[in-house]
């Protein structure tokens, strides 16, 4: 029985590790280490290899959830982790300077994978004033010739993480 992989990527601090922890049936495997750069102002630890969680389907088949490191210097891990993946979830931290450019960076780097599969964009930390509207993200996607769901989510909520995966599955089946 083949294993199924869902990949969660996105900006450092967006909550990839939290999202996996929120929905995984097993305590997530983490590769967090101390942050030594400017990210230390935001969080004390960062993922440097991958996060890993799992879900079990009714017949025992597993869905593996892989969280990537967020920083572009770990691009090599992105390429490793997407191999055989079902689809991509991109978490975008809307408190950062240019969230739309952040989304674009991940879509560029995962372009081949996303073209073969599909992606869901999860916007997190929306409770700030001067952040782009959801429509601005759709416009940016449209300029790339893409139409993916853009969902405002709280990755601490199991239901929101579940919604992103369900949206991804619907997209893969019906879009």
């Amino acid at each position: 029985m083949s294993e199924i992989k869902v990949i969660i990527t996105g900006t450092p601090g967006a909550g990839k590790t939290t999202a996996i922890a929120a929905i995984s049936e097993v305590p997530p495997v983490r590769t967090d280490t101390a942050t030594t750069d400017e990210l230390a102002d935001v969080k004390s630890e960062t993922t440097v290899a991958m996060d890993f969680g799992e879900l079990t389907l009714e017949d025992g088949q597993k869905v593996f959830l892989y969280g990537t490191p967020g920083q572009q210097r770990f691009e090599f891990m992105w390429k490793i982790l997407v191999q055989g993946g079902l689809g991509l979830i991109v978490l975008v931290d809307c408190t950062r300077a240019d969230p739309i450019a952040d989304m674009g960076m991940y879509l560029d780097n995962f372009a081949d994978f996303v073209a073969e599969t599909g992606a869901v964009i999860g916007l997190v930390k929306r409770d700030v004033n001067d952040t782009p509207a959801v429509d601005d993200f759709y416009q940016a996607l449209s300029q790339r010739g893409l139409m993916f769901p853009v969902l405002e989510v709280d990755v601490r909520e199991q239901g929101d993480v579940s919604l992103m995966i369900e949206a991804l599955v619907s997209l893969l089946e019906f879009a």
Partner: protein, 323 residues
């Protein structure tokens, strides 16, 4: 053999119902069994339980068919079959016999109803979705007993006495059961005492809950539809049916209701609710069916059965986490 299930009954009512079913014996033509793990032939809905009505409202038409509205007052007039509380054997037998004899008997606002063509003059308002669609300016107050919703089109916001699921349940009531007040007749309390929310959340719910199988005026039954983006779901978590429709309608090429129905298996009733909701929230692109025919796209290749099965299993697993 026929199966009956229920939604939202109190523990006591459910026990009584199961006992009555066990005792029916030969008093109905067919043997009835209470089951909630199979496709049922009849569904008893506690209409006084707003959460149950909201849950029922998100279920596909195939589940909702032959719903019996069970209430202490006169239930929604859109229900063809009703039972008054408390549950009595004679009433239950009568309604089950009716289902045996007329399994397809439609409610007053059934999925199969044909909306008036858009070329005609605007029809009388028959659904909440139509009412809200036509009210494009100023204030609109919808009152249902001591529950209410106020929509301010000017300021693009709304306020309500209800929370998410309960608001969805409220909006599912037939339009005729609401008291409607418009414009200057809507008296608002001082502004500081009202919590206003973005109107899109309400407009989406009005379309989803208040369409009753009828497209709002201006949308053609034979038209082609697509959406420009996924909706913001706002107050109520989207059902799997809604996610399916989002995916299908964001395809590059617009689709007809019939195409959507045949590819997705989603009942027309739910497709119309989605299209109305998309129209009300301004994300719908509608084309005339005739004009678009030359550009009709090739059908998307069918997914392998194994793949579909996998997706179904993932959905089933995740449904538990979203409950």
């Amino acid at each position: 053999m026929k199966y009956l299930s229920s939604i939202g009954l109190s523990a006591k009512d459910e026990t009584v119902l199961k006992s009555l079913i066990d005792l029916l014996g030969a008093r109905t033509s067919e043997e009835w069994i209470y089951r909630d793990d199979v496709m049922v032939d009849a569904l008893l809905l506690d209409f006084d339980n707003s959460e149950a009505v909201a849950a029922w409202n998100t279920k596909p038409e195939s589940v909702r068919r032959n719903t019996i509205a069970y209430s202490s007052e006169i239930p929604g007039i859109s229900f063809a079959r009703r039972l008054a509380k408390p549950l009595r054997a004679a009433d239950l037998i009568a309604v089950l016999k009716d289902i045996e004899e007329n399994p397809g008997k439609a409610d007053k606002a059934p999925a199969s109803s044909t909306p008036p063509p858009s070329t005609q003059a605007p029809s009388e308002i028959s659904t909440l979705a139509e009412c809200v669609a036509r009210h494009s300016e100023g204030l609109l107050r919808l009152t249902f007993g001591d529950r209410e919703v106020v929509l301010d089109r000017q300021r693009r916001c709304f306020s309500t006495s209800e929370s998410g699921e309960s608001l969805a349940a409220l909006l599912a009531h037939p339009f005729q059961e609401f008291q409607v007040t418009r414009g200057a007749d809507v008296n608002l309390p001082p502004d500081g005492s009202i919590k206003w929310l973005d109107q899109k959340a309400l407009l989406w719910l009005v379309g989803q809950s208040g369409s009753h199988g009828r497209l709002i005026d201006g949308l053609e039954q034979g038209g082609l539809f697509r959406i420009t983006r996924w909706p913001g779901f706002g107050l109520v978590r989207p059902s799997q049916t809604v996610l399916t429709l989002c995916s299908m309608l964001t395809r590059k090429n617009a689709m007809s209701i019939e195409e959507i129905r045949s590819v997705s298996g989603v009942p027309e009733f739910d497709i119309i609710a989605f299209i109305n909701a998309a129209s009300l929230t301004g994300i719908l692109v509608a084309q005339s069916g005739d004009a678009a025919k030359p550009d009709k796209p090739a059908a998307k290749p069918e997914l392998p059965t194994e793949r579909k099965g996998l997706f179904a299993k993932i959905r089933s697993r995740l449904a538990n986490t979203r409950a």
